[in-house]
Structure formats: C-alpha cells, structure tokens
Point group: C2
C-alpha cells in the first residue's frame, strides 16, 4: 500500500502513513494527540486542523461554517491521499505532560502526614533466609526447602507461583542458598528471590483518571516517595469522557482491547520513564496499587463495561481480587501484587474510595462532604457513623469540553476574568501569563459570576441588552467576546456563547442538586456540613466564593472548605505503604451507601431548582446578592 509523508506544524514532525489514514491517526503516530470527544465520529468538532499543502480527502464532519471557510477541517474526517503538511492549532492539541503533580492542597503531603496513624506495613516485604544446603541424604526439593526455612524463621506459609518455580533452582544456587525473598503481604505469595543483601523493593501508586494518569514510585522499605510522573490518558483519542469510551469499547470489534492497550501504554510509558531516570530494574518493583473510577478499572482489566451505562447501571465487579502485574499488563515484576481500589457503584469508583481513605472522612465525627468535580460530580457525605455517596452527570463543561472556547487548565487558558461595571471592558488572567487560547473551568466559573454581577446576564443566564461591542449575535445566537482575535494566540475571537452559559448552568446545577439530594436523603440541611473537602485537579484552581456565587457549591464560610489535591493518588500511596489502610479501603467501599440519583424524582426536582444563578431558592445562598450589578463581594 502507498505510504505518504505527513508533516505536522509547528512541531515539524514527519511520519509515514498508508494512503487513507486519517490525520487523527497520523498525529497520534507522531506523538501529537489531538482532542476528541466523539471517538472520531466527526461530531464533536474538537480536532480541527488546517491542511497547508498536499493531497487529502475530507469526508465531512461537524465544523462551524466560519472555520471551514478559513480552511480548517476535522482531523478524524481528513484522509491522507499524498504527502501533506498539516498545521495543528493549539486549541486542537491534547496537551502533553502538563499534568499537575504538586498540589496547592491544604492537606499536607509529607510522608509522615500521609501515613498518619497507619503503620508502615507495605504491600510486599523482604525476608532474609539462610537455607541448609541439600545433600544425598537430605534431598528435599528446592521449593520445600525454601518454604520450610520461611516457616521456621519467619512463621510464614509461603505460596508459590509457577513462574517463580521455573527460575528457582538457579536462583538458589547462584545465591549459594543465602537469599532475600520478597513476599506479597496477606497472601504470602513469593514474588522474587535474590542473593541475600541489599535487596530493594519499590511500589507504584497509580491514579488512573479518565483525563490524566499519575504514577508515583515509593521505596517500600523506607516508605519514601521517590518520584511522581503524570501524563494524559491516551484513551482520550477514543472519546473524552467515560460514556464515549464505553460506547467505543462495546460497539467496535476489538474496541475494548484498544482502550485497554491505550491505558496500559499510558501507564507503562510513565513507569518506564520513572524507572529509567531512577536506575531501577522493573523486577525491583514488587507491588502496585491502582485507583480509578469504575469505568477506568473495567477498561484497564478488559472487563466488559457495557452495563455500566445501561439502566440499572451495574458494574461487573466492585471489589476485585488482588491480581498479579502480568495479568494486568504492568511492566514491573510479573508477580507483583496489584491492589485495585474497590468501587461503590458504576459511577462512584475506586478513586473516590481512595480519596475517602486518604481524607479519613470515616475516622472523624465531623460531618464531611467530600466532592470531586470532573465530568461527573462524585460526592460522599458522612462521618465515622455513616457514609452516603452519589454521582451526578455534571458533563465535561468544567473541564473545558463542550464549551466553544473551552480548554483544560494549562498554559494559555483564561483562569480569571474581571469586567468593569461601567465600561463592561474585560481584563483576563491567563495561565502562564501569555496570550489566551481558550478558557478553563475556573475561568468559566469566574466568567459566569462576573457576567451576572455586571448585569450582562440575568439569573437564568440569558444575555441582557447592554451596550458593548463584546456582546454580539451570530447565526448561532448571542455571544460575549472575552478576547479579540488580535489579542489571542489563536488569531480568533475567544467567546462565551449563550449555549455555553446554558451548558455551564446545567453542570453547576447538577453538582448542587447532587449535594442537596444527599442531604435530603439523610434529612439534613446545608448548615449541618462541618467541612467540605474538594478533591481533584479542578480544586487547585477553583475560587470558592465564585463557585458559591454561581450556585455550584453550598454557601458555607470559606474556612470550612479544604482543598485536598489528588486524593485518589494519595490514597493509593497510602494503601501501598500500609496494609491496614488497604484493608480499610475495602471496608469503606462496603460500608458506603450509594444513592442512585436516577431512581425517583428527588434529584430531578433539585436539578430544576438549581438551573438559576445561584438557585431558585435564594435563601439557600444568603451571602450571595440577589441581582445584577451587585458588587459588594470582592472577587
């Protein structure tokens, strides 16, 4: 088949692909993944590129007329038919290695604080043994000899895998019968045998997010964290959110395996990078923990995810057996135990359980609301006596998706907006300080608050008739210009449309309705909440008074809010270092009541009430002003 050279600008990276390959695939091959929420169906319009030169065939796809006129087409619908030069605009690019590793979180991140009162009792340990040498008259097998010594010296009943046995004879003799044995905690499965001495044992805590993946390497003997590294989840090319990925997995032949391999490639590349830079052999990594939402866990393990998205939303498995690295596909010691956090339900997953473990919400008498806002708003309410959880489909708006000029919180994203109440002129805060290329979640929240405060939109989110050239009407309806093309890095106006605003209001309304549903189910009011812990990367940029002002979060004093950062990762680190913590996570998942919001009318009633700024029932937001132009709050 004919092969053609495709060069991507501005990176100037060239790949050779077969005729008929989509630009989407070619970009992937070039290591320049593009945004996509539709899995290449041509409907989301996120992967716009510009063909500078060369022969391509454009099949179609949904793209605004003005972009089409400017020469843009969708990468997933543009097929290579000859050598070509393709420009990727920054807003179409799936940023790389921009994943936040350090948190602004107020919950401390040091190792002592991570462990707290949990003992250092890691997922695997090393036992040093001196075996009696065999003779003609004392000729029991290598395996029996090893197990007997382990029993005698350490009181442990070791378990043997075939893979371990295959190499055992040479290992014992090369070590002259003086060995270190690495054992999995709990099962006492033998993982590794090395000459007695300075045997190292490392473990990986993995936060497998829908959008980002972070891997943390810990030294299991000292308990010290060695390194963290993160990147975007390569499954993103099959869709931005869990629903589109489940659809890809279940409606395409081999789709599940593609998603599994994409997740594994993401994780394994991070592992390889960490081990290479640390000078660590994969065989030395003898344990792992993984925290991810239920869909991510199913996809990583190749478990059929079809019924996660169909009523009544049933996971194949919530609690999983401790697997071996080789079964999962992790490029570490093949026998390393892999502890995967249990889920509570299809949309309250292991990442939430891990976060609940790390934040100790079940160890405190204080009534705590733990909340993680992403595509879904997942939340847990409770204390040491009870826990109740739910998930509301917030949509990806706060992650910048489904918003005309939305983007993730990375360089070039507008994260803050000021609007002069008199001139209605706009000042922007941009991540990195340069020209803006879009607007991220915290920017959108700020924008919504400021537009209302300036009277440009009313409480329903509708644009008002105000005198500013920034408010204009297009074929697709009214929109507000945040940055003119001359100021932006994309050479296009950055706008917020009426549809974007409706979208944002639905998102914030869903989150608040989720919180209200939990409270009503246990017959409590907002005032009863003693602290609110905000998890996830979103929390790092979130401005609480703005979030309260638009009615996303409850109207409680700022001191009750705690940013906890990546609690999913930190819980996974904790469970890696301490078996009692891991056991507790299993308990937590079993104890947590799950409120299915689609059962009954409670959530829907709360949702409809929440589709106002801040809410239809203003008494729920006593600190928020009533109307437009209200400037009493200092942004």
């Amino acid at each position: 088949m004919d092969q053609f050279a495709v060069t991507f600008l501005p990176d100037n990276i060239t790949v050779r692909v077969a005729a008929g390959t989509s630009i989407m695939e070619a970009a992937n091959q070039a290591g320049l993944p593009l945004k996509s929420t539709c899995g290449g169906a041509g409907t989301c319009g996120r992967c716009a590129i510009k063909v500078q030169e060369g022969k391509v065939e454009v099949r179609g796809g949904h793209l605004p007329a003005r972009l089409r006129e400017e020469g843009y087409s969708l990468a997933c619908q543009t097929m290579v038919m000859g050598d070509a030069i393709i420009a990727i605009p920054p807003e179409s690019r799936l940023g790389r290695h921009q994943v936040l590793l350090q948190d602004k979180g107020r919950l401390q991140d040091s190792l002592t604080d991570l462990l707290g009162s949990y003992p250092l009792d890691p997922a695997c340990s090393v036992a040093s043994l001196v075996l009696p040498e065999p003779t003609l008259t004392e000729n029991t097998s290598d395996a029996s000899r090893l197990l007997a010594t382990l029993r005698k010296e350490k009181g442990l009943e070791g378990q043997l895998d075939l893979v371990f046995l295959q190499e055992l004879p040479d290992s014992l003799r090369q070590a002259n019968w003086q060995v270190d044995v690495t054992l999995a905690a709990g099962s006492n499965r033998l993982i590794r045998i090395t000459p007695l001495g300075e045997t190292r044992a490392f473990g990986l805590a993995i936060d497998l997010g829908t959008t980002t993946v972070v891997v943390s390497l810990l030294d299991l003997r000292s308990g010290e964290r060695v390194m963290r590294k993160g990147s975007y989840n390569r499954q993103a090319v099959y869709g931005d959110d869990v629903i589109s990925r489940i659809i890809h997995a279940t409606s395409n032949e081999g789709g599940l395996e593609e998603l599994r391999q994409a997740a594994l490639a993401t994780i394994n590349d991070l592992i390889t990078a960490i081990l290479t830079s640390g000078g660590i052999d994969p065989a030395e990594v003898t344990a792992a923990t993984i925290a991810g939402n239920t869909t991510m866990t199913h996809l990583l393990l190749g478990i059929n995810p079809r019924y996660l998205r169909l009523q009544p939303y049933i996971p194949a498995a919530a609690e999983l057996p401790v697997l071996k690295a080789a079964e999962v596909g992790l490029k570490i010691n093949p026998l390393a135990p892999v502890q995967i956090f249990p889920a509570v339900a299809s949309y309250v997953g292991g990442d939430i359980v891990s976060g609940a473990l790390f934040t100790r919400i079940a160890s405190s008498e204080e009534l705590t609301l733990f909340i993680d806002i992403g595509t879904n708003g997942e939340m847990v309410l409770g204390n040491s006596d009870w826990l109740i959880s739910c998930a509301c489909s917030a949509g990806p708006a706060f992650e910048g998706s489904g918003i005309t000029c939305g983007m993730r919180a990375m360089e070039g994203a507008i994260e803050g907006v000021s609007i002069d109440p008199d001139t209605l002129e706009v000042e922007l805060e941009v991540i990195g300080g340069g020209r803006p290329s879009g607007i991220c979640g915290s920017g959108l929240i700020d924008c919504l608050a400021k537009l209302r405060r300036a009277g440009i939109i009313d409480r329903t989110g509708n644009f008002q008739e105000v005198a500013t050239p920034r408010l204009r009407t297009t074929d697709e309806g009214p929109e507000f210009v945040l940055a003119w093309a001359t100021q932006s890095s994309t050479q296009r106006d950055i706008v917020l449309t009426a549809a974007d605003i409706k979208n944002l209001i639905r998102s914030k309304g869903a989150v608040f309705a989720g919180i209200q549903s939990l409270l009503k189910t246990v017959s409590l009011e907002i005032d009863a909440i003693e602290r609110i812990i905000i998890a996830g990367g979103f929390g790092n940029y979130l401005h609480i008074p703005n979030a309260v002002e638009i009615g996303l979060l409850p109207d409680l004093p700022p001191e009750k809010y705690i940013f906890a950062g990546n609690t999913s990762l930190k819980g996974a680190e904790l469970a890696l270092l301490s078996q009692p913590a891991w056991q507790e996570s299993l308990e937590l998942a079993r104890r947590m009541t799950y409120l299915e919001l689609s059962a009954g009318n409670l959530f829907m009633e709360e949702f409809v009430s929440a589709l106002f700024l801040p809410h239809t029932r203003l008494e729920l937001f006593p600190s928020v002003g009533n109307g437009s132009g209200d400037e009493r709050r200092s942004g």
Copy 2:
C-alpha cells in the same frame, strides 16, 4: 530460501522444506517421527534411512559400516539439498498410536473398582443458582450478586479470576440470571458460567510418560469414563530417556521450551482428537490431573530441570500448587484446575505416587512391593505403617533401546523365543504374527532365559562354544542370529550380540539390586514380601517365570505377582474423580521415605552380586536351576 519436496516411502507422504533441513526434521513435519536417543547428535544410530533419489548432504554420524555400505545414512545427519525420495525402514520408525490402552492387568478396571471406597467427589462441581435481578435501588455488582447467591444457596465462598470477570456481565444476562456455575473443588474458584440446565463437566486424567502419553476423558457428573487415547511422547526426537532430555533442555538455548512444547503438542493433539470424536467443547472440560515422572513434570511446566541429574539430585519442586489449564498450556477451559501429582524425589515421581494411590499399597497391612520397570526401575516397598521407595538406573534395554535389534513392544517385535535343546534351532513369537523386525523387552528376557537354558551362554552371559551357524563372530564380537535376513521384514539378520547380553544383565541386575537395597534398609528378606505389583506397559508382556529365571524379579510364587497395568493413569483418573483420593496422594508423597541408592555402598554391592544369571547367591533363587541345559521349567 529454496524449498524442496521430500517424499517419504513407503507412506508416500511429501513435505516441502527449506534447503539444509535435516531428514529427521522433514520426517517430523510429515508426521512420521523417527527414533532417536541422542537428540540428533548423530551418536545413537537409531534414525537410519535410505536416500532413494535426490540431492542430500550427509554430515557424518555413527552408523555400522555394513549399513553405510547398503546405502543407509542417519536422518539427523542428512541434509536436504534438492528434491528427494527417502525410504524409512520400519526399525527406524517411532511407531504411532500403538500405545496400549487396555490392560491385561488383574486389578479390575471398572469404575466402581476404580473408586472403591472413595466417594465420587470430583475436581470440579456444578452449582445451579437463580440470582435476583438488579434494579436501580438494588444495584450491587454482578460479581457480588453471584458470590452472595452462591454463599446463601450453597454455603460456599467463591473465588474470582480476572478471565472469569471479563465475560461475566454478558454471561449473566444471556442466561437471564439463572445459571450453572462450575467450581474448582477445594479453592472454590469459579471456572465457568452457563445458562441453568444441562451443563456438562468433563475432566482429563493424563499419564505423561517419557515414552508414551495417555489421556483419559471422564464425565465428572456421572463419574463415567468416556474415552482413552494414547500416543508416543513427541519429546522422543530430543532423546529417548529423561537424561538425554534434561541435557537437551539445559545445554541448548530454547531447549527447555522445545521440550515443553513437544509435550504440550502430544497432550493437546490427544485432547483435540478425543473432544472432536466425543462432540465436546474444550470449555466443557473443567478439570485435569497429570501424573508423570519428576523430569516429565519439570519439562511440561518449563521448570529448570538441571539439578535433577546433578548430585545430590534435587527437584525444583516435589509438591506443586494446583495450576490453571492456561498456565500449563492445556487446550481445555483456561480456568480448569490442574492437579499435578507430587513427586517423592528426582527419580521417584508423580507417576509412582499415582500408582501407589491406585493400588492402595498404603491401605493394606500386607507387605507389598510395587515396581515399575522402564528406563529406571522405580519401586516402593511397604504397607499401611510405612513406605520406602527408590529408583535404580536400569537403562532402556527392556524398552528395546541400546540393544542392536531392540524395539518397542509393537507389531513385528519378537516377544517370545524357543530354542531346540538339540538342534539349537529357534522358533519365534512375533507380535501381530508377521515377519519380525526386532525384539522387544519381553522377548529379550525370554531370549536370555532360553540362551542360558540351551547352554549357549553361561551364568556370566558369555557365549559358549556350541555348534550352530547362528552363533558367529563379527568385527564387533560374537552374536547370535535369532532370525535370518530372509525371514525378517527388514531384510537383515536379527541378532543378539554379546554386548547386548551384558547390557541386559546390567539392567536386570540394577532392578534386583534396587529391590535388595530396599529390603536390607528395613532389615527384611525376600520372603517377607506378601505381594508384588507390576506396573506399566512392560508388565503386560512380561513372563514372570522368565523374569525370575534371569534374576530380574525375586523368586516368589507366581500367585504373589499382580499385573496392575497403567497405574499412573488409573491413579490420575481416581484423583480426578475423588478429592479425598487426591488429598491422599499428597499425603502419600509426604510419607514415602526415599532411599538414594548412590549414597553409600549398599546398592553397588548388591548390583555387582546381581551381574550373574540369575545371581551370584543362588540361594536367593531356589526355584531356578543351576546350569545350562536345565529344562525342568516349562517356559
């Protein structure tokens, strides 16, 4: 690379192979495996073939001058350099599908007798369950739902494998929540899920011998045997005995994997043939047991066998965990539990333990000698109070190997010999009744007894000066012609040489010395033995008085001898059908004392005394005559 057509006669099978391929490999490819004991090194001389036509390159190899002159060369040393026609003489051919499945054994073979007092409690069982359907408010995971129902209805704590979970969601819904679950006994691992109804469960008992492999399929629900099928172990191309295979495995890159694959191919082809003819899906085969000697077990599992043959002869593992079919490589349900019989030592393996289980030697107060004569003579002495075992290196003479005209007990093999005391003329009994092509183990024993009785050899095995054209001297020493070229199917004289006789005497001496060593270790005499159980295919053809006459077996009345047939296979069938029997086999292996014959001088002294016909100490063989020409016994 150039490909040439090689046609094998008389089968007229043609294969295409690359230039430089050995005739040995080409024959293998054609499904016509040849004999070999040296693993293709050109030293054993068993794979002689005749190039009828075509271009080949003969590299060398050890072959008697007279065969070379007749146009023979060694298949392993003959390389294809063009199209060729090759004749395979019957004596070079590794017979196929000639494996004995029905025994002459006196121990009955019916299923009731197989189980005896053990209950039918197979390696896996089927539980029928009706699960409550999930709803929005009762939305626990599929796995939890299944395990909870299993716990409630059957009181069992099921264990889940990843492979099981991957398909669970569809399986449950396709069965409309009414399912049969197949569970492994002991572990309660879930193997299979099917719609509630007539779920079948089959199991395989596998006798993995060095020479032959037999697979037996049983219906685990009724306990009935469905079919048995056997063939030669394809590992034979890498050497006839365990030692040459261990050498191949440990001195060639990839050698162990070659042996593993050869064993798996042998087993899996038998499995496929059985399942195809029985109309059984591999998924329906949900358990297996394997009995093999220690080397076979190591090689099948890819476990380094190096130290089995190096002093002090230590196995990597004697007792093995219950594995899964996928780990072993069996083409049945990947989650089927595979119970592999434990070994006692490097040369007393799982086949002996299986035989000891089947023959109930540990359940009787009678002092029993259990003996399996192959390349090694393996034997167990004892009763319900104690058990002691040993293995003596008998060499492969009784299997026809290492004997000039030796062959296995198959069509064309001389199995009996009569010598006229006056004329010294010979009459032969040939398996199948046709022309002879060689002589098998029972024939060799008979021959030795008759040669001595006719005065042709003396008690040391040396030829005497007697007047018959059958006794002649060649460059390689004296030899006795059993069949002239004109009578044989090979058109060559079938002879027994002086070297063959020495070889046979060493073999029989080793077996008898082993028996004596066991007896002396426990301070008992031959008379104390109350029964002798002869295991293995060899026993089917063995004529006890002859075996006693040459001093192979103890001089006890024939009624104390019992032929038990393939006890390894029958023990494997028993352990497949009854978990208490399987548990007992583990106990048996632990209880059995192992006497290492190479430690101390006991065995060597006994061996030297046994290098006479029947023995230096004639008082051990009161029923055997003293000299030549003694015809008081009726053969």
